[in-house]
Amino acid sequence: MAEPASRCSGPVGARDLPAGALDRLIATGRFGLIQLDRDLCVQARHGAWLGWLAPGAQAIQALPMLLGYEPALRAIAAGQRPSLLLPRLAWPGGPLGERVIALEVLPAGDGAGLLLWLQDASELAALEQQVVQQRNELSLAEAALVAARAAAEAAHAAKSAFLANLSHDLKSPLQVILGNAALLADEGALAAAERPQFLQDIAASGQFLLAMISDLLEVAALESGRLELSEEPVDLALVLERSLALARGLPGAAERQLACRLPSVRPWLLADPIRLQRILANLLSNAIKFTTPGGLIDVAQQAEAAGPLVVTVSDDGCGIDPARQVRLFEPFQTPAAGGGSGLGLHAARGLAELHQGSLTIRSEPGVGTVACLTLPAERRTEPPP
């Protein structure tokens, strides 16, 4: 191989190189040299790890990393471009194995073709790899911290806003109750015909307060892990029927169609009937809130005799826009319209999860919303004798 080495001029700086120096360099196993002719065919290759490269082969085909660089290679051969350097190049699974190389393309001189100078850069690349890896992991961790902090701040802001709203929400029904009670107590203040309406308003405000406080207590118990289910065999269909009956009494229910589809075989399950009913009451009151009068609300229980128990509450209401859907189950997210504590869905999901079940919501703006309560198959049980 002495001949090509001694012919190497400028590019490798070999003009003053002692005879055989290039041979000795290549014999270290850290370098390789490929000579290409003017047609970019392999003329010769030198280096322990280049034995697979057949002389005469089209370089672009044998070395796929050169694909796309033909114009550059021709420009270099013609002396119109000084060189091309690809400092870190791996071809895993190829004939270079796991090696990382630095590849430099230089003119062979006198329009005679090209020299490809390859250097095994695996060791350096391994060091670089560690540094880059650590730097990347650090900056990912930092980004995660920033995001976690932003989320915590948002949660804190939501909680503050919630508390501000809460005092207002508790105050206004109390004012109704106290004001109406005072008027009712004052013999001459109201005509007899007016009295029932004032009493009804007191009852409605009381109901509202009760629901709100129940939500609050339930969430507080859920969050602190204090809430315990009191489980018993439950007739699921009966719970659905009761929830529907209660929902029919809610404001706005009369103007909407509430349909219920139950399978002929009534499944029994081990559950906390009061909590189950609270989940359904929440889904139903949301459905009523977010449909317009005349809207259709459909409660259905899937008929499968085995496997998980699935109950859906669907409506054809305004739907929930995607940005809000993401946060639906977070606490303190007051619904966009219709009021409410903003805790209901959070509590409902918590209660479903206490039953080892799940609660999900699919919604399409303008089409409607489907809430899906799933309870695990293990909760199925025999009806009591």
Binding site: Q61, P64, M65, L67, G68, Y69, E70, P71, A72, L84, L85, L86, P87, R88, L89, A90, W91, P92, G93, G94, V100, A125, E128, Q129, V132, Q133, R135, N136, E137, L140, A143, A147, P322, A323, Q325, V326
Partner: protein, 171 residues
Amino acid sequence: MIAARKICVLGDFAVGKTSLIRRYVQGSFAEDYQATIGVAITRHRTEIATSQGPQALDQILWDIEGSLHGRDLALRYLEGAAGALIVGDLTRADPVAAMAAHAAIVAQELPGRPMVFALNKADLVEPAARPDGQTLLASHGGLLRCCSAKTGEAVPELFAALGARILEIGI
């Protein structure tokens, strides 16, 4: 002879470039993260459905280190590519803006070359929380998909669409 084309895969570090190529070529996935240094190339022969019927294509995939920046480096590795797959990470703050920066370099260095856009890690992000990325398509055309190197969702579709665009416009 089978056509061969250079395809660059670009995106910020750890968005899943290496994982997408591995899923596409080997059909596998690894959870651990190994930063890529420089560029790793993979040759993958496939059949692409084009409007003229199926056509064989050797895709030379360039998996380019995500933390590289600077015009010189980009130029060096992008040179001669027929198209690019731009990858973003749906779990990051603003993946579309990051992808737009990579797309702008491709548009400048490889004018007229097709791009497709992969919003990766879809397995970790609910559909409702994904950005739509229409601005990328408005600026550069091509195809945009939410995908997952973990589940394989939409991965072959992205590479096939890029291959088809490259063959159809005859680059």
